[in-house]
Subunit: 340 residues, 2 copies
DNA sequence: TTGTAAGCGTTATCAG
DNA sequence: CTGATAACGCTTACAA
């Protein structure tokens, strides 16, 4: 555990000089001293103590990735493969820029604030659904916050979002174009102004344009879990008043499809299915799943991009970036003539 | 940002007393002072500065979860849903015990050591494949290390493993029992003493017991990726000298199955498939995937269990825990009479 | 070009 | 029961 003091002692200079060399303020030090210091750093294997740095400067180089702890399921938070790819992307970019990533779930805003202060966190990413309360609390701190998949706007916060509305619209319109008139909408619980709500709006708009009625009894909400999807599929198999399902997550879609199939329904012959996300699972189901595509890695990169710019004081023109979505046609939707 | 000093000032006591109260050394402080200090802590919203603590004590409360950065793919490290569940489980348990989780990929052992010293990390988890070099380096440090899915044994390291050998054996024997004689073994690259190698040994043993020859040309290795699986499936579809495939990961198995099906092969009628892990994807494929089951959450909990015991100095009788595996029969394996 | 010294928030030692 | 004070490793005015 070599320290700056050790280096200074060995080379025969003061701590200041060593510190200066480390930080590349070489203009103030003679070339010879620099190389001797660098040698010593090398041979002693000196590495800065981040805690000490963090204490004296007001930057900790720690970035938090915050997840809301869903009370029900214990460790469920990274279950979504999409989320994983996203975190991987963040870690990678952060690291390249000299930052460290702390993964943290929080139960309430007190939890959050404590964490923030405990480590003097430089910035935070939020992914997923949080209560508004969180953001109100957070807006009091002058710390960069990047919100992923959230429609909350606050002064010190940046949003990385998706064309959710468009995604919902595209999926639904496509089904309608294929002759479907009675379309189930399956999703996690719909929170006002959340991503799902946007997708639902897109769904409604597509119906409206086609002069189809919006039916409350076509909306199904549940936690996103394979098992829930399968159960829902089985339940739906008993209804005979619909021909298509739009699920706002591929996992859910795949689950529903499996449930339907297990109950003797054929996809897409009896029921057409469309998902959302385009995770690699889509290529593995039979039939392969038609879905709305989004790019998780890019999402992560853009999120970090925001963060880095803010941390380095680069001016940001636009506080929001919306990733495009697109329809990926595979084999789970069938054209029908709409007689139901 | 209230500090201990602030509290001390307001209550009219010294820092020492405040610190003592915070740490519950209440025996040394009057009841009245205690409650006044606690009140002040409450109203000022005091939260300890971990950097300062870390600097003075030699515990940082930071636990690293280390992933080896596969040079090829940029942010691939948490892509595996299994791995995600595992990390979620770790974060949860760690948090309950007052620790913080830093996620970090490393490129080489220098990276690792730097990270270690940067934060004075209290302990580390390793998941996945690392070069032996890493562990040699690491064994010089007196820091608890928990290895997941690794067969490396070192003095200060603990292993959380799986019955990999048994898994490979069970899968293969089951196929043989169903009449299969020519069984492809598909896996990621086989590293001596790695988990895959163990599974391969189980495969060989099952063959041996059935007096079936081991054929080098039945072994396929590639990175685990859905696309690779699909490609392999298509390639395999051109061979006619086998009736079953054992893939050492469900993702791979599902990919191969899709590739086979896309090439006109029927599963399980033409080819039987068996996977490994039992991720929820298994229930979503058609046919559903027969596989070897393991419990990711439990794995995470046991890993943290080791860590906590070591950190708290609880004596550990056994430095290794091996989780059981079991065969889960679904619909991707067919009984044949073995004429090929 | 280099050195001195104060201070970041906390804990620990020792004295009162 | 309580309080000074030093120390952890580092940065940064300011001085030389």
């Amino acid at each position: 555990m070599a320290t700056i003091k050790d280096i200074a002692q060995i080379v025969g200079v003061s701590c200041t000089t060593v510190s200066n060399v480390i930080h590349g303020k070489s203009g103030r030090v003679s070339a010879e001293t620099i190389s001797r210091i660098n040698d010593a750093i090398e041979t002693l294997g000196y590495v800065p103590n981040m805690s000490a740095r963090s204490l004296v400067s007001n930057s900790s180089k720690v970035i938090g990735v915050i997840n809301h702890l869903v009370p029900s399921s214990s460790g469920s938070f990274v279950e979504d493969p999409f989320h994983s790819a996203f975190i991987g992307s963040i870690e990678h970019t952060l690291r390249k820029n000299g930052y460290y990533l702390m993964l943290r779930t929080v139960e309430d805003s007190n939890d959050l604030i404590s964490f923030l202060r405990n480590w003097n966190v430089d910035g935070m990413f939020f992914t997923g659904i949080f209560k508004d309360e969180f953001f109100e609390t957070l807006s009091k701190f002058d710390i960069p916050v990047v919100l992923v998949d959230s429609y909350i706007k606050q002064s010190n916060m940046y949003n990385v979002g998706l064309e959710d509305y468009k995604g919902g619209y595209l999926a639904t319109r496509y089904l309608i174009e294929q002759g479907h008139k009675n379309i189930i909408f399956a999703s996690p619980f719909i929170k006002p102004n959340g991503v799902v709500d946007e997708r639902l709006k897109g769904y409604k708009q597509a119906l409206l344009e086609a002069s189809l009625p919006f039916r409350e009894d076509f909306i199904y909400q549940q936690e996103i879990h394979v098992e829930n999807g399968i159960d829902l599929g089985k339940k739906l198999a008993k209804r005979n008043d619909f021909t298509a399902v739009f699920a706002t997550a591929d996992i859910l879609a795949a689950g529903i499809m499996a449930g339907l199939q297990q109950s003797g329904k054929k996809v897409p012959d009896d029921i057409s299915m469309i998902g959302f996300d385009d995770i690699n699972l889509c290529q593995l189901t039979t039939p392969s799943l038609t879905t709305i595509h989004q790019d998780a890695t890019l999402k992560g990169e853009l999120a970090v991009d925001f963060m880095m710019k803010r941390l380095e004081g680069v001016p940001i023109k636009n506080k929001e970036v919306i990733l495009p979505v697109s329809l990926v046609k595979r084999n789970s939707v069938k054209k029908i003539n709409g007689q139901i």
